[in-house]
Subunit: 309 residues, 2 copies
């Protein structure tokens, strides 16, 4: 099954937009795990098993494993998710980006070695740096668009004036129509251009998604206008301060799905003691419920008003 | 010693602008290495030992190790370079880029785990995604600016119109002057903005460099105007087709240094048989010599003409 299909199934089965981000930092682990050579795996596995029923996806962040020389534990963790929680997509957060010949190796790393269902990729190097990932059956590629950090504005929000040119995707004329025909004529922000390329000429197999931070709801709304039903991975709620209601109002599709709302630290470290997994489950359930409430509000507000006169 | 200082010393000691890129692809190794569990390390070590006298730097590309589950061989390779060829800087080509808390883990990966002297980083997420690398003593950060691949133009060459705003670097007014005062008022390309931020407010410790591909000499010339003496890592000669004379004419500093000109495949795979290391040494020497000739031409052409009248 393709990444997007399995994600759509996971949204409906779990009735959840929540993705738990797996950013394991050993200095924050409960004492009982200290000194264990498999502490990272053990911690993450406990989080996964405790929260699986509340999520639509898991997102391990590879930097936290690489800095600890724990690639083997990342492999084991993803294998565990696939075996024990089949159908929950695993998004490897790696933000890779390189020329084609190198990108082939990164794609192999993400999809063959780690068996991820999707990987995050940086679009700065253009389509030929993205294309190798599209060659892997129907795995997903989630491109950075408008990131949740403050510095993201420095380049991503720059105003650009070039008209769209024919692109590596085969020319805009063959591209699927986006929700904003005619947008090529107006000035736009860099992140809007990324969204338009991602929804159009770059999206050859329909398996591209975007990263847009919860910290900028107006920009999330703008991206949703551009990309129609495309999945959007939304970091930035919880520790980074994004508001759940505003995020869902801006980013959900008309059916109340379309978003993968990530929370990492607020769930992983909900409790620093032996009860960390139970506390994580509680935090995940509460976040899932807050997302459900926000979706209900969103759907209610977009319902057409009763006819008058 | 800082990255930039050790690079300057290496340029002068070797009289070479050549960097050998270590992109080990086992399918291209000579038969004698096949089946060895340490084939990647053995291949790269032989290349390093054969070419060290001809280079100013080595640049291992982490994707080639990660796709082969060979992180331990990358650690051993960099340790070997430091021990056997002290003073030759090692640039880890990883093109990382993430929010600050994650970037700290990538910095730890590059500088503590792998003991790289510098790491390549993607600037799309702005200064707060770069800052954690600047905290590591005086290690180097080499930012993608204008990459060598065709798709690089899609975003990097977009025309932008925003005036420069106060940035995370503390405001443009405190920034070191670049070679183009007044440039804030004119339209510029995205890669030019990256170059100007990198040379100005972002370069807090003077250890930032840029990646500009040899395949676009006019754009390399433009970046050199903006960044004055900053080191520029130049991929794209050899297999990617960049011209050495044009590259050096566009990118060298007035003293004939300033560039780290990378060649990977043309050196690593100069011969596919048992004589691969000797062939790599010959190819490295020939490339170093071609770079020296190009530098001599560049210096001769920039000498002021004799006075007349």
């Amino acid at each position: 099954m393709s990444f997007v299909s399995s994600l759509q199934a996971a949204w409906r089965r779990s009735d959840s937009l929540l993705c738990v981000g797996l950013d394991p930092d050993p200095v924050r682990f409960p004492g009982a795990l200290s000194g264990r050579s498999d502490a990272i795996y053990a911690f993450c596995r406990a989080i996964v098993d405790a929260t699986a029923e509340h999520v639509c996806a898991f997102k391990p962040q590879i930097a936290y494993f690489a800095s600890q020389r724990a690639e083997d534990q990342l492999e084991a963790l993803i294998a565990h998710i696939h075996e024990q929680h089949p159908g929950i997509p695993v998004i490897l957060d790696a933000k890779r980006g390189d020329i084609g010949s190198t990108a082939e190796h990164y794609a192999r790393e993400a999809f063959e070695r780690y068996r991820a269902d999707a990987v995050t990729v940086n679009p700065y190097m253009g389509f030929d740096s993205i294309e190798p990932y599209l060659g892997y059956g129907e795995r997903g590629v989630i491109l950075l668009c408008r990131t949740s950090n403050a510095g993201g504005s420095e380049l991503q929000s720059l105003q650009i004036t070039d008209p769209e040119e024919g692109t590596a995707g085969g020319g805009a004329s063959n591209a699927p129509r986006t929700a904003t025909p005619g947008a090529t004529a107006r000035a736009e922000r860099l992140y809007e251009r990324v969204a338009r390329l991602a929804a159009g000429p770059w999206n050859r197999n329909g398996q591209i998604g975007l990263v847009v931070g919860a910290t900028f709801p107006e920009e999330l709304r703008r991206v949703r206008e551009i990309v129609a039903e495309m999945p959007i991975l939304v970091p930035g709620i919880g520790a980074q301060g994004g508001d759940i209601d505003a995020t869902v109002a801006a980013g959900a599709t008309r059916d109340g799905f379309g978003m993968i709302v990530n929370s990492s630290r607020a769930i992983l470290y909900a409790d620093s003691g032996e009860g960390f997994a139970g506390a994580a489950a509680d935090a995940a359930r509460a976040t899932r419920d807050a997302l459900r409430v926000a979706v209900a509000k969103r759907l209610a507000s977009s319902r057409p008003p009763a006819q008058h006169g």
